[in-house]
């Protein structure tokens, strides 16, 4: 059997004259958990619905396993989908909701019962099989929706922002359950979310989408450690990366010396293999967790809001030039609100981007 679970080749989608998906290539390995992440309107849900067959594909091809399913009916693709709204049939019991596809396929009663019982056991729904969806809590409904997918034993599970209707606590819990479920079932899963924490915690592979393109794909920590452009750098990581304008002051044998715009005493030596010419305007990216407080020179941040979370705190402030800056503190309570702090980035972990937002390595 083909080792590729889902394969997309120059897939396009137009709504009338509007291009929503502009040539997407991707490979999701069999048994892997892939996450599409991006801001709203980036086309991630559309792409998922195209894989499901709920939206027609305007160009390119979609393969599941070794079958070309580009023009196949949703039911013939071997996919099951969990909707954001759960899409449970309100007039049917939990049992009948989960048995729906088997009933349509006219499977024998014993088989229906066995499969539904199995799925219910996995999802701890055995006590709720006779209830209507309206008598269930949000988390339970979510589980029924997943159970409906499990019963069909699909090749690929598709999740369209399945946790966004749950409260924060339940979301964390369901996230863990989904991760365990993936380990248990070993099926290919594709998951759409706008929440990068969900993406980071669940994914084997993250596809960052924006403007109808895949901006970057890879393992979560690869995207975190080595973003290929400014968008991905800003999107992955929480709180998001700080960006400051700078110019190349000098090219050194190992890289460049960057001078921050409007900060005469802030210059950093950054190692680059392909340094831009002296005088090129660049953007420096620094993660809040890589900024440390220093007694000496550095970036002077006027802290106006401090988010104290107990273990860590995020200090929000501005530089003298007016650019926003966030840095992270761990441990002690600092009471930095209203003060001016000097922070210094870890020079190894400064990312350099050109004017177009592409990474300079």
């Amino acid at each position: 059997m083909n080792s590729t679970g889902v394969q997309l080749r120059s897939v396009e989608k137009n709504f009338g004259a509007v291009k929503v998906i502009k040539g997407v290539d991707m490979d999701v390995q069999r048994g892997k958990f892939a996450v599409f992440v991006g801001p709203s309107g980036c086309g991630k849900s559309t792409l998922l619905r195209m894989i499901a067959g709920l939206e027609e594909t305007s160009g390119g091809s979609i393969h599941i396993g070794d079958r070309d399913v580009t023009d196949a009916d949703p039911a013939d693709r071997g996919v099951a989908m969990v909707f954001q709204s759960y899409a449970l049939y309100p007039h049917l019991t939990v049992f009948e909701n989960m048995a729906f596809s088997l009933r349509l396929a006219k499977r024998p009663k014993a088989e229906v019962k066995q499969k539904v019982q199995e799925a219910a056991a996995i999802l701890q729904l055995t006590d709720h099989l006779d209830k209507k969806p309206s008598h269930l809590s949000g988390g339970q409904r979510q589980r029924v929706a997943i159970g409906r997918a499990i019963v069909r034993a699909p090749e690929v599970f598709l999740f369209d922002e399945p946790l966004s209707n749950l409260d924060a606590e339940l979301r964390v819990q369901m996230r863990l359950e989904l991760a365990r479920l993936h380990q248990k079932l070993g099926a290919t899963m594709i998951y759409v979310t706008h929440d990068q924490v969900e993406a980071m915690t669940l994914a084997d592979t993250i596809f960052v989408l924006q403007g109808g393109h895949v901006q970057q794909s890879g393992a979560p920590l690869d995207l975190y450690d080595d973003p290929s452009n400014r968008f991905v750098a800003g999107f992955i990581g929480s709180p998001s990366m700080n960006f400051v304008e700078a110019t190349v002051e000098a090219v050194t044998p190992t890289g460049i010396t960057a001078q921050l715009t409007g900060q005469p005493d802030a210059r950093f030596d950054i190692a680059l293999t392909t340094p831009p010419a002296t005088g090129t305007p660049i953007t420096l990216g620094m993660r809040p967790e890589h900024l440390t407080i220093t007694e000496g020179t550095g970036l002077r941040v006027t802290v106006d809001v401090a988010e104290e979370l107990g273990g860590v705190s995020y200090q929000h402030g501005t530089l003298a030039s007016g650019e926003p800056m966030i840095f992270q503190q761990t441990g002690a309570r600092h009471g930095m609100h209203g003060t001016v702090q000097t922070v210094l980035p870890d020079a190894q972990r400064i990312f350099v981007f050109d004017a177009e937002g592409d990474r300079i390595r």
Binding site: P74, A75, M81, S85, A87, Y89, P90, H91, A105
Partner: protein, 309 residues
């Protein structure tokens, strides 16, 4: 004035203002409800009471009668014309209620497939007849079905072999009045069903499609059960409306031929306003009222049980 304990006062004031506020709210509520209660009492409750009272007297249309007890009802039970009328009423219900609901459902299902302005336009076209007054409706159909000049007569001739004076033919009269009625009132049912269809979330159909449901299965397993409350509402409203049949019969056939379209309200009208039998007409009205209540409650209960299954 005795000295007031300083702590007492605010409490008592709070209590006072609380009861003041309740009084104010009650007054406002009474004021707002009063116009409706007045109109309801004068134009509905009082006439209803008079009808009930009249049905136990031998009163003419205008003026007082004498108390005759249940005599009117006893007479009604022996009145063969009443049974004919009642039978015609049920025949008419049979001809209209389920057919109009089925037609409205089919129209609603097709209209709901249309998008945006096109949908609004088509819906308006179907709703237009409902806006017309009954006299206009009957005139249009009387013209179209005119024995000599009606544009529908060639169609009838094509089926039966000859032109038919439909409102003077005992076999044709009730079905044709039913056709006119369905054409006239169907738009409202379409509207109710469209609203019901719009309430069914789109992703249920998507989930069903992924589960492998054919369009036919999607209708019977998703649309039909979720639309059932609206369908049973339409059926019940139609039942009540069609049992009260009068205008179309009065204007199209006047109860004839051979009493084939004579219905209960027709009889009531004739007894009251042509034969001056106010008491007897009231008794007919009372019996029709009871029939409607019993039949519609019965139907609604049956439909509810059917829906739960």
């Amino acid at each position: 004035m005795p000295p007031v304990h300083p702590l007492d006062r605010p409490e008592r004031e709070a209590e006072m203002s609380h009861s003041n506020r309740r009084n104010r709210e009650l007054r406002a509520a009474a004021l707002l409800v009063a116009p409706f209660v007045f109109v309801f009492a004068v134009f509905f409750l009082y006439p209803t009471y008079k009808v009930v009272a009249l049905s136990f007297t031998d009163a003419p249309l205008i003026g007082e009668g004498t108390w005759v007890g249940l005599e009117n009802y006893a007479k009604l039970l022996g009145d063969r014309l009443f049974y004919t009328s009642l039978w015609n009423n049920f025949y008419f219900v049979l001809l209209t209620v389920i057919p109009t609901t089925v037609i409205a459902l089919m129209i609603a299902l097709s209209v709901s497939k249309l998008k945006g302005r096109m949908q609004a336009l088509v819906l308006t076209l179907f709703f237009l007849p409902y806006v017309l007054p009954v006299s206009v409706v009957t005139m249009i159909w009387a013209w179209m079905l005119d024995f000599q000049f009606g544009i529908l007569q060639p169609l009838i001739a094509a089926v039966t072999g000859k032109a038919v004076p439909v409102f003077k033919n005992p076999h044709w009269v009730m079905p044709m009045i039913a056709v006119v009625t369905v054409w006239w009132t169907n738009g409202f049912n379409v509207l109710l069903l469209i609203a019901g269809l719009r309430n069914i979330p789109e992703d249920l159909y998507e989930a069903a499609a992924l589960d492998g449901a054919t369009p036919w299965q999607r209708f019977w397993r998703v649309t039909w059960p979720l639309l059932w409350p609206i369908i049973s509402l339409v059926l019940t409203l139609q039942l009540i409306l069609q049992l009260k049949l009068f205008d179309q019969v009065y204007l199209l056939s006047n109860g004839g031929p051979f009493n084939q379209s004579y219905v209960v309200l027709m009889q009531m009208y004739r007894e009251a306003f042509q034969l001056n039998h106010g008491g007897y007409a009231s008794a007919i009205a009372m019996v029709l009222f009871l029939v409607i209540v019993i039949v519609s409650v019965l139907q609604f209960q049956l439909l509810r049980i059917g829906g739960r299954k």
